[in-house]
């Protein structure tokens, strides 16, 4: 099935930016992350491909500062998808390259031309 044009354009925009960006569909399933995000996640998109929400939400083992795993539904992208509102969070992940990184993530819901919820996108910032 062809993706909505707004999602297609979002992916293409992400592909042209140096800002790390992650794009999911209306179910939270991963559609795309760009090359700058690959550096933070420690793996190339071509290697992971699209993934169901339950898979990507745990494979990078997000934790709080004390090392406690974060429930998938508390991730900013999950909030943007499920509650249709922007969300921000700061947490640690372990990339598939084995590196632990502290990230700030801002997620926004993607609302289509006619008001339908078609997914969400998140911007990642690595904390020094």
């Amino acid at each position: 099935m062809t993706q909505p044009i707004e999602v297609i354009l979002m992916r293409e925009l992400a592909g042209h930016l140096a800002t790390p960006i992650f794009v999911v569909d209306a179910q939270g399933d991963l559609l795309f992350y760009n090359e700058p995000a690959e550096n933070l996640l420690g793996t190339r998109f071509d290697e992971t491909g699209m993934m169901p929400f339950a898979e990507w939400a745990t494979m990078f083992t997000p934790t709080n500062g004390r090392g406690t795993p974060l429930p998938p539904d508390e991730l900013p992208l999950a909030i943007a998808v499920q509650k249709h509102r922007p969300a921000q969070g700061r947490f640690w992940i372990r990339g598939l390259d084995g590196e632990r990184r502290r990230l700030t993530v801002t997620a926004i819901p993607l609302q289509g031309q006619w008001g339908e919820h078609i997914g969400a996108a998140a911007i990642f910032w690595e904390e020094p």
Binding site: T2, Q113, W114, G115
Partner: protein
């Protein structure tokens, strides 16, 4: 499904002695499946002559607007059925995120741009905001989807028991896909065009012109060919000719296709006045009205 092309030109009408073979009127295509009704794709300047030549049997017209750029709506004010109380006219088109079709059309159909207001039209007028999905018009099931072009723009797929036609007159799928024509899932407009008998598609530029006009919302001829290949259409009708391209330029433009490898579909550039029957799948040479 009888099709008549009343306007082939993109961006601006360009009548004159150097555009007589391909035509100077802007986008307008008529479809006929029932004797008393017509479906019209876009309301460019070609719409005026369509209105003049309508059969006296016709009492309902459905005008499907892809978007509201001037070259696609300028014929509305000169479409005779709008001024006749014995006509039922339905205008379908996309609203925007902040304004419905009526509000957006009123910006043109009101002073100072036009002397007659929408509410002053004599016909039985119905405006329909389109969402993605399917609608029924006389003789056809119409499927719509937003496509890549500046502002809210839809593509149309019309089907009945006799055939299918996709209409994407203003479309720049290349802009929305780095790996254009490799992936159906990530190609703007793919589902509208997939497997149709006839694809009428934007082919405004040469490749060299496209390089200077990326993001303007239009395709090159080679991009239109790639899109038709991906969509596995049976016939491609390149459309929305650039107003700066005269007949000789377009002859060269489309003549060059003959030097390319054989495509898995037939190709015939849109010419104003062409009429053909989709059910016959263009087995015969299109005639000119």
């Amino acid at each position: 499904m009888k099709v008549t092309v009343w306007g082939t030109r993109g961006s601006q009408a360009s009548p004159g002695p150097d555009t007589v073979r391909y035509g100077g009127n802007t986008s307008c295509v008529e479809l006929q499946a029932e004797p008393d009704a017509r479906v019209v794709l876009d309301a460019g300047t070609g719409l005026r002559r369509l209105g003049v030549e309508l059969s006296p049997d016709v009492r309902r017209v459905d005008v499907l607007l892809t978007h509201l750029h001037m070259d696609h709506i300028q014929g509305l004010g000169f479409f005779s059925p709008l001024f006749r109380p014995d006509f039922e006219v339905h205008i379908w088109g996309p609203g925007s995120a902040t304004a419905d079709l009526h509000t957006r059309l009123t910006r043109y159909m009101s002073p100072p741009l036009f002397p007659v207001r929408l509410q002053e039209l004599a016909c039985d007028l119905h405006l329909h905001d389109l969402n993605e999905g399917c609608v029924e018009v006389p003789g056809f099931t119409v499927r719509t989807a937003l496509v890549c072009h500046p502002g809210p723009t839809v593509g149309y797929r019309l089907e009945n028991a006799h055939g299918s036609l996709a209409y994407l007159p203003d479309h720049e799928p290349m802009l929305a896909c780095s790996h254009f024509a490799d992936s159906a899932e990530w190609c703007s407009g793919f589902e509208i065009a997939a497997g149709v008998d006839v694809l009428i598609h934007d082919a405004q530029y040469s490749d060299a012109e496209y390089e200077q006009r990326v993001g303007w919302g239009h395709s090159s001829l080679s991009q239109a060919l790639a899109f038709a290949r991906l969509a596995n259409v049976k016939h491609l009708m390149p459309f929305h000719h650039d107003p700066a391209h005269d007949d000789d330029t377009l002859d060269d433009f489309f003549g060059a296709i003959a030097a390319r490898p054989v495509e898995p579909f037939t190709i015939g550039a849109a010419r104003e006045g062409t009429t053909f029957d989709v059910a016959e799948n263009l087995r015969t040479e299109p005639a000119t009205v």
